[in-house]
Symmetry: C2
Subunit: 643 residues, 2 copies
């Protein structure tokens, strides 16, 4: 309700034509958040990232001068939403590239590819033994001689069929048992779920219902939420879908969201509701599409970084961002999903996979389990590139890990025309012999931006073509019309406006390149520190597994060329896609896999990069292409010497 | 709300002056139940017991002729409440002896006596190791090096202090941890409670709160509910109290209550609420009297017969009373007390001790543990006389049990002037050399009735005085004015009206004596069958423990004289009082004692007397004083031969 004595103005957002009333003095970004209109905002409203530019179509705003908008943009009437104070009614247009396109995440297909692929990576698969089982029991009707109580009669039958003996039962189910048993003539299906040291009798249904046993595996990402619907009865992935994390309106990275929730206007519960709603929408979609009921889903399992699992559970995340960086909990006992607000069967269980530390979450432990790092005789390196870059080094005897503030550049944020791996994103890029760009987009439509794998290709291509030097600076070249100078800063035009799916050239700026190099440098430095701290030569690493949301594929050679990955024989390196959801799914399908994740979380040693004085040196050295010390990259050195 | 077209009448109850409107055609008993006025009703309204007589002071009722009222009573305008159909407004008076006297249960004192006494019975006491513990933890504040998550920091400290490693935490507590830890500067008191295979972190409080740790132990009896307030921090009984079970208005025995709940007008939930209210009232009283808060009580433990624990938990009791007599559950997992409605700390736990079968409940398993039957080298017999008479035979190697339908005669029901062990009850009785009765009453006030121990004394005294013959028949004797003939049936006047605390002679009738002998015969027959079934001679039994609500004491010699107990040397026989509450308390104070009850419940073999063809023969033989075969009672035979 409007307060008295405060002037209110209308802010109308195009193209959605959504209007909202806000008090005089608020920003356009605040209006967008209130109106639930998504405006890209990497820095969460700090006026640093420049991603929240919107087109002022009508009315006036008060704003400070900014270097984050080009002269042309200013002339076109672009403003930064976070820096624009509303002093009258306005109409603004959210540019297409700043909007979320919820229809285009290619997750189902992608995750499937990597699941089947990575499932073959090493050794025996985990035996099918789901966390939640459905058992059809034909009970012996009681007699004076066989006078076991109803509840214990079920326990006895479960033990006979499965060997499980440490059962527990909740109050609600306990009360239902006698009538269900008698109504069903002693033939029932029980759902039993693993709960720490015990197994819970989750549900008792009449008749044989054991033919299907649905559950969902969820990757709770900072940017994207991915859900797979699984039938545990036959270990089959029934369907998958994804959506963007609605918390993004309160910051693209989780540090900003923690600040919003704990020090800003927001609350942890507000953020919990946003992510729970996202998950519930996904589940509702999967359920509808596959013609089943919410009550048919007996379990959900989640993997995510530590901040995201805190938000999901409504746990206080404040101490994650403050030294000494302490989570509320790394190990969360199985809960009833309904307690958290997740809409599946009211008695269904929610498993949140365990994390290791504030900056190494269960997306990493699930991933490490999924690639069988903990079972490997060989030394393995597992790298997950997201907002942070987590690096895990180890084998069956020991595991260490660290987290580098890589920034979200390879997820398309902090890059002017960066975007996620969605329809219209440039996912492959090269420069041909005529010095002309060649590219492929997701969905084969005119390009609207460029995703992680495309950015990686672009840096490598520009470097190989001599347009970028080893320090990462674009080189002026009057013969190359694609290298242009705007306000004294060089930029490279990837796609001319006439070929683009947006109303602009798609360019990569010097600033974008700097951001991308910082990202890859952070990852490479983390790898170096971990390897060095263990007294190992990088050549001893037999396998590198690269995970993350780059896109459908990733060019390993290019990752080496730019110096993100060490210069090892390419056959040792594998892109494994979204291992968070694959790992979560594996843990749901096999209790041994779940236990393996727990064991990994317990034994993994967290290595604090920030406290390591060498890290900054390594980071600076890695800010070159591929590195200040090119001897570390013989294959790149050979290529450079050829040109 | 009154239905249309149904005539309603007012029934007013004196002396409480409570009025209620009931439909034309209802009975006075139904009116009393609706008005929440207690009217004694052993048979639950079947018109059999004759205990529900009330005085019709005004108005008229329609009723059938009955033999359960004497001619004099009919002339005085007494009616049976259950047989009196209301056809107009009436005023009735509930006679004093038919009311509940809630102020007079001598439980605290009595239970204390037997607790301290029986605690010394045998062997080592169980080590103090309560089911719910409070631990003061001085946690190390986290650092970058020691970056354990908050939740796991608590687990680690609990493990260091107690060795407990299989912890679990509920969602609500999980969420509170970070703020409590920081507010209290990392010094907290945690409450941990045993939960099946795991230990739950029930509560985290700032500072050192471990000085006290309150819990309640409750004997949920069919007639009486007893609660002890215990401080687990120093194994001390702080206070105790008792009240009548309000379910009595729906039947004095639990079979009638099951019928009311499952086949009559009532519901299981209605009966659950009644008993939960009784327990809550007791707890509220204890809390108030000892100046503590409900939230200070972290656990409740209950023992009771199987039907009562079903009512308490709202479990379906229907199949208890129908062949093959199957409980919903014998083993009930620890629950949150609030789930059942018990008002203690909202996170506090409720332990319901395990039962064995429909007719052998946790009052018996708790009692068997309490007397250390399961630890005994010697053969022991444990007999609990209540509405049923449960008999347990065994030692450390094996235990068998059975339940005899003894009837509630020794609890004062089914006996014309029988009453519970409350103020004014005759608790000792003898006949002196002048053939005149001598008695003592509880509270040293004029007698109002006679309780279990007094009834047992009376039978023995009448037999020893030759007034009762061995078949249990009163002998006419013109010289003895106390033996009188009313309507052709003999009765014995224990107390003349002028000496009584009620407006009548206190008599024992031939019918009363028959009921009491049937009770004792049922118990003796059960003992005989158990002993015989194991191929044992009764002389091999080294200890007999007699439990039950007889009163403050019980004359062992008289129990042998009338043939309730076998004729063993009296030093082998001990009256141990209310072992249900003592056992529940011991289980709460020591996890080993709790586990011992579980083990007893698992291993005890239930012996079905009804299915045993010899039981009826044994029962008929035991209907004599002391028995048809007096050779089985040499000490009684010697006494008889002396007279």
């Amino acid at each position: 309700m409007p307060e008295p004595n405060v002037e209110y103005h209308e802010v109308r957002f195009l193209p959605d034509n959504i209007a909202v009333e806000i008090p005089h003095g608020n920003t356009i970004l605040q209006a967008a958040q209130k109106a639930n209109v998504y405006v890209n905002s990497v820095c969460g409203g700090d006026g640093i990232c420049g991603k929240c530019r919107v087109l002022l179509k009508q009315g006036e705003v008060r704003s400070r001068p900014t270097t984050l908008l080009s002269r042309q943009e200013i002339l076109q009437n672009y403003v930064l939403a976070c820096e624009s104070i509303v002093i009258g009614d306005v109409v603004v247009e959210v540019p297409e590239e700043s909007e979320l396109d919820r229809s285009t995440i290619l997750v189902g297909e992608e995750a499937e590819r990597f699941t089947s692929h990575a499932g073959l990576l090493r050794g025996e698969p985990y035996p099918p033994d789901p966390l939640v089982k459905k058992l059809f029991l034909k009970l012996e009707p009681p007699t004076v001689e066989n006078n076991l109580a109803d509840h214990e009669r079920i326990y006895q039958a479960v033990k006979q069929q499965t060997g499980i003996s440490n059962m527990q039962t909740g109050y609600a189910v306990l009360r239902q048992i006698p009538s269900v048993l008698r109504k069903s003539n002693w033939e029932v299906t029980v759902t039993v779920g693993s709960r720490a040291e015990t197994t819970e009798l989750v549900q008792v249904e009449p008749g044989d219902q054991s033919g299907t046993n649905y559950a969902v595996a969820i990757d709770v990402g900072t940017t994207t939420v991915v859900a797979h619907l699984i039938d545990l009865a036959d270990s089959r992935t029934v369907d998958a879908d994804a959506t963007y994390n609605s918390q993004m309106k309160h910051g693209e990275d989780y540090i900003h969201r923690i600040m919003y929730a704990t020090a800003g206007d927001g609350s942890v519960d507000e953020l919990r509701k946003l992510i729970v709603n996202d998950i519930n929408s996904l589940i509702a979609l999967l359920v509808e599409r596959n013609n089943i009921n919410l009550t048919d889903i007996n379990a959900a399992i989640c993997a995510g970084n530590t901040a995201m699992t805190h938000f999901l559970l409504g746990l206080d995340p404040e101490h994650i961002r403050r030294e000494p960086y302490i989570p509320s909990a790394n190990f969360v006992p199985p809960l009833r999903a309904a307690q958290v607000g997740i809409a599946i069967n009211g008695r269904g269980l929610l498993y949140v996979l365990p994390s290791v530390a504030a900056y190494v979450g269960s997306d990493i432990t699930a991933g490490a389990m999924f690639i069988r790092l903990d079972k490997s005789d060989d030394l393995c390196l597992f790298i997950d590139v997201g907002t942070n870059g987590e690096v895990v080094l180890g084998n069956k005897d020991w595991i260490i890990c660290c987290s580098a503030s890589a920034g979200p550049a390879f997820e398309g944020s902090g890059v002017k025309y960066g975007m996620r791996a969605a329809r219209g994103a440039i996912e492959r890029f090269q420069i041909d012999k005529n010095n002309e760009p060649q590219y492929e987009t997701i969905g084969d439509i005119p390009p609207r931006g460029i995703c992680g794998s495309g950015l990686l290709d672009t840096i490598a291509a520009l470097f190989e073509a001599g347009i970028l030097d080893r320090t990462g600076r674009l080189q002026a070249d009057p013969d190359n019309k694609r290298i242009q100078n705007t306000d004294g800063v060089l930029e490279y035009v990837l796609v001319r406006q006439e070929n683009a799916g947006i109303d602009d050239d798609i360019i990569i700026t010097q600033n974008d390149i700097t951001n991308l190099l910082r990202s890859k440098a952070a990852i490479y430095a983390a790898i170096s520190i971990l390897v060095e701290s263990m007294g190992i030569d990088i050549k001893d690493v037999q396998h590198i597994y690269l995970a993350g949301g780059f896109g459908n594929y990733l060019d390993i050679h290019h990752a080496i060329t730019i110096g993100m990955l060490p210069d090892l024989p390419p056959e040792r390196i594998e892109f494994v896609g979204n291992t968070a959801v694959s790992g979560a799914k594996a843990a749901l399908l096999s209790t041994s896999a779940f236990r393996a994740v727990e064991e990994i979380s317990r034994t993994m040693t967290y290595f604090d990069l920030m406290g390591n004085p060498k890290y900054m040196d390594e980071f600076i050295s890695a800010n070159f292409i591929p590195h200040t010390d090119i001897e570390k990259f013989p294959s790149v050195a050979k290529m450079v010497s050829r040109t």
